[in-house]
């Protein structure tokens, strides 16, 4: 399963994301952005169960015009939606094994 990074300026939203994946291996990191404002990055393993919750929080941040970036393997995802995240999940699945004849 791929690792997803959600960088967010609002601490409450970051904590909400971390809590969303509670019981899994999610964790929060903190760095300073260019303007000195703290940015929080939640790292979690993307699973089908989390897709809806992630999209809801990310879209709320976008709507509120707050800083939010979503990355998978270092590539920023534009237009975060359930379809986009499910596509990432599908392409990350190992190729199915061919049945031996």
């Amino acid at each position: 399963m791929p690792q997803i990074a959600i960088e967010i300026a609002e601490r409450a939203a970051a904590t909400e994301l971390e809590a969303l994946a509670q019981g899994s291996d999610a964790f929060l990191s903190e760095r300073q952005g260019m303007d000195g404002v703290a940015l929080f990055t939640v790292i979690l393993t993307l699973t089908p169960v989390l897709v809806g919750g992630i999209v809801k929080i990310v879209q709320a941040q976008i709507k509120a015009k707050k800083h939010v970036h979503v990355k998978v393997r270092g590539i920023e995802i534009r237009g975060v939606s359930e379809e986009a995240l499910i596509r990432i999940l599908k392409t990350s699945l190992p190729p199915s094994k061919k049945r031996k004849k």
Partner: protein, 415 residues
Amino acid sequence: MSASPVDRYIDATRLHLRGRVQQHYYAESVKRIRDLAAHFGVAVDVKIVYSLSRRVEHVKIGEVLWLVYDQYMGQSVNLLNRLFVEAADIEPAIVYFHKVLAERLVEVSMVDEAIHCALVYRNGRDALMGRAVDERWRAVLTSTHERFMLFHEFGHCLYGQPQILSHVREQVEQLIEHQIASKTRTPSQILADVRSAPPAAIHHQDPQAFYKDTQRRLESGEDLKFHAALLASLADEQIRQEIFCDVFAADLVWTETALNGLNRVETLRAVYIGFYHLQALEYLRRFPYLSSQVDWSTDNTPRMQVRSHCLRWHLVFLFQASLIEDGVKDKAEIEAAASAFDIQLMEDQKKCYETVNDGAMNVCDSLRREGYIRKLGEATAREIEATVRKGKRARRLSETEFGQVALLMTGWASR
């Protein structure tokens, strides 16, 4: 065994190639950082990566501050140093910055635009063939700046401890005060200073024409917004921290050079030259977020400019300290030598613009004007799609595949 949090952070936030990292190259600097962190009682550790981001950062995970250094950034600075040493104009820089931009655009999923830039790079990369001119000087430049970047980032890890490094903090306050005084001169003082400036300070332009242009600008007030942005930057707490890190890093690099018996003048010049490369790369990094209308109150240029002015003054200060350490006592002799060194820095700055920085501005400014990059990207993507369809493939290329094609063309990825 599951990956550690910092490795998971790196895997998620960067496209990186573990196999390309040369840990041994940084062993000495990493040891120095770990030793100093232990000395100051700060929990800091270091990770060296080789990533498409060309980004050096510090990130707090749990109770540990991780300093993540990017070897690809060092490699890029090395290439810019080759251009600084060898290039006669900005043409090679323009070609190279198309590669940098292509890789940046892949990172932000602007793959059509990335393909265009990658193609320009691939078609023009012969301009970047090395000529092996003064490789010793290039090695000094690169090695100095890689250490400067590492130590600068380490400075951020220490800034939050007000009880340590008080001498660096005092120096920062003095540098800022000096810059505020310089930037609040009256128009007549400015004009008097222009009249007495050495040719290097005005990049060898015609003194009469430069004077008239300055006078016209002062009268029209067209630089007022930029000037206000410079003063605002000097009052900005974040810039104060950046200046602290610049001074701290310059001091550490200078001390190492002195301890190793190396040429201190070359090291100080290398710090300044590298700082301009950093500005060029930073400008390209911000390209996806730049609008065609420049707003000086939010633009990064005034912030970088005040940092560079403070750094130059500090380097001159370190140069004078070197002379005193060498036993030079005569005040007039020290002042004359410092003035000559300052002029050397101005000449280096001019060369940076002529071989590197103007190239970055040229590429970004021309591509962002009226959405030009979007149009070029769409046209190139259509061409690539048509070429692919002539072959056996019937389906459209996915965004990921387009990104992969761009990275193959820049040389980041291999087949």
